[in-house]
Amino acid sequence: MTVLVVVVALVVAIATYLTWLARRLDRLAARVSDAGGGLVTQLVARADAAAQLAERCGLDELAASAARARVSYPALLAGAPLDAAVELAENALSRALRSAEVAAAGQRFPIELHAVDSGAARVALARQFHNDAVRDQRALAGRRVVRVLHLSGRRSPPGYFEIDDALPVREEPWPRLVEGSAYGADISGRDNPAREDRPGRDGSLGHGDRPGLAS
């Protein structure tokens, strides 16, 4: 009798634990999926802003990179995975946005430039949210009990999204709101056209302080 009670209690405890683990996995999968959706939204917004700037200023190279990035968006918005081809196209767009021509064009169109910059800052943030979610999910999915019992079901492990989203160096209006952070740009989306010429600032906004992420 006592043995039976102990066995039943043990089975219940194990079942509860496994159910709890499965719920955590479900929740993490939902978080990864939401974060992926958010990332796509921000990629689309950045490419739109870039295309607009390119059009206003006749920047062919930027227009081409934006167009290349936009090719994959219908599929992404329909739920396609963020794969290596997307990463390459977004990398090219990041590089084009850092070009000298863009900076020069921005002198004449500060509002468009600001839209592009805050779009880029939001992409960096959204990517961080996404990769954080992926990391948490992989950590739990990698636990032995989860792997042995196939608690993740048929879900394939989500991949990190790795692009070079270092923000362009600009002469910025005072002050840098965020010191030493990779995510320092104004993400409020406000227009902030007051850019005064301020030589001597190091403009370290968003550069190189995320080891292992920017590639």
Partner: protein
């Protein structure tokens, strides 16, 4: 947006996190959002209309001070009801590593959850020990915010997760129209100091050492010192001829703080230790007082490399006296500093900071709302 804020520490006990949550809530309300705060409180009468009582926190001695914790079933029921009834778009928990309301909310909720980490504690034994237990709650956080670089580093070291840096704001509107304290509205050249008077790192001694040289250049210069500490001991150390020009006010209330800044033409921050952030400088700038501060990293950043306030070499009374005299005798230059200061302050205005935080909310909320977690 409908925003739920969870504050882990007792509302009517003074503390930085509580002030942060209050200022954020009021800035969000002013921007037209729907806000509800849940927090432990001793005296429910002190709660503003937008806050909900989570119960009384239990004081527990921890790590040499008293931590106030709240994790019981009654609070859990209140947090659960709060989450169910309010139907938030975003839940924003503050300092969820403290075993209190924020952590409870994190455990009970699901959906768009943001956390702000306030504490910088490079060797937190609690965090290290609790990491495994916190992980199931922390893996629900869709975005993490740190209020300082040090807080961010603590988070990275203990929980292996990065955070967005959004600094504390300054409630600028509390400072802009501040009036001088009685007796300080006569235009006499006055230097104001605010901070613990017996804490060497705050640098009052440097300022006192600069006073004779300042008095030699400006006949009627005086110093207004506000802050807690042993005033008798400080007075005893003063040169007799200085006693008439140094006023020791002692501890001032929060309401009088803006008036202290407004009582001086110059606010002086002679700190000798590294400060992580110069919030007090921003407050002085918001009050429209010119700032003279020691040249340490945090102050140099806040003062825009000397354009929004004058810097002097750390611990150098002679240079401090000369700088103070310059500012006090050059109204046009001082006005320039004040003007630049106001521009700087604007970016730290709670209205601006709250806007940036809402930017984070918008990025993580999507179409999902905050719900009760199925456990």
């Amino acid at each position: 947006m409908k925003i739920g804020l969870a504050c882990p520490y007792t509302w009517d006990v003074p503390g930085g996190v509580q002030v942060h949550v209050r200022d954020l809530a009021e800035a969000l309300l002013a921007a037209g959002h729907e806000v509800s705060v849940i927090t432990p409180v001793d005296d429910e009468q002190t709660l503003p209309s937008y806050a909900v009582d989570a119960g009384r926190a239990l004081p527990v001695p921890y790590n040499g001070s008293v931590a106030r914790l709240l994790m019981g079933p009654v609070s859990a029921a209140r947090v659960r009801r709060w989450l169910r009834e309010r139907d938030f778009d975003v839940l924003h928990v503050h300092e969820p590593s403290a075993p209190s309301v924020s952590l409870l909310a994190c455990m009970l909720a699901d959906g768009p959850i943001v956390a702000t980490f306030h504490t910088a504690n490079p060797r937190s034994r609690f965090l290290t020990a609790a990491q495994g237990a916190l992980q199931p709650s922390f893996e629900k956080l869709r975005a993490r915010i740190a209020v300082s670089e040090a807080a961010r580093r603590t988070l990275v070291e203990h929980l292996g997760a990065d955070a967005i840096l959004i600094p504390n704001g300054v409630a600028v509107q509390h400072f802009v129209d501040a009036q001088p304290l009685p007796g300080y509205d006569d235009g006499r050249p006055t230097v104001a100091f605010l901070g613990r008077i017996d804490e060497p790192r705050k640098g009052l001694d440097v300022l006192l050492a600069a006073m004779p040289a300042l008095a030699a250049r400006i006949d009627d210069a005086r110093l207004l010192v506000a802050g807690p500490g042993d005033a008798a001991a400080v007075r005893a150390r003063l040169e007799p001829e200085l006693r008439s020009r140094v006023d020791l006010l002692g501890l001032v209330s929060d309401a009088d703080k803006p008036r202290v800044f407004a009582s001086g033409q110059v606010y002086c921050a002679p700190n000798t230790g590294q400060e992580s952030f110069g919030i007090v400088l921003l407050e002085a700038m918001a009050a429209g007082t010119a700032v003279v501060a020691s040249d340490i990293d945090a102050f140099r950043r806040v003062l825009d490399d000397g354009r929004a306030g004058r810097l002097f070499d750390v611990g150098d009374p002679a240079q401090l006296a000369a700088t103070l005299a310059d500012v006090l005798t050059d109204p046009a230059g001082a006005a320039g500093l004040v003007r630049r200061g106001r521009e700087v302050v604007e970016t730290y205005d709670w209205r601006t900071i709250a806007e940036r935080i809402v930017g984070v909310y918008e990025m993580i909320s999507g179409d999902r709302r905050v719900s009760l977690a199925s456990t």
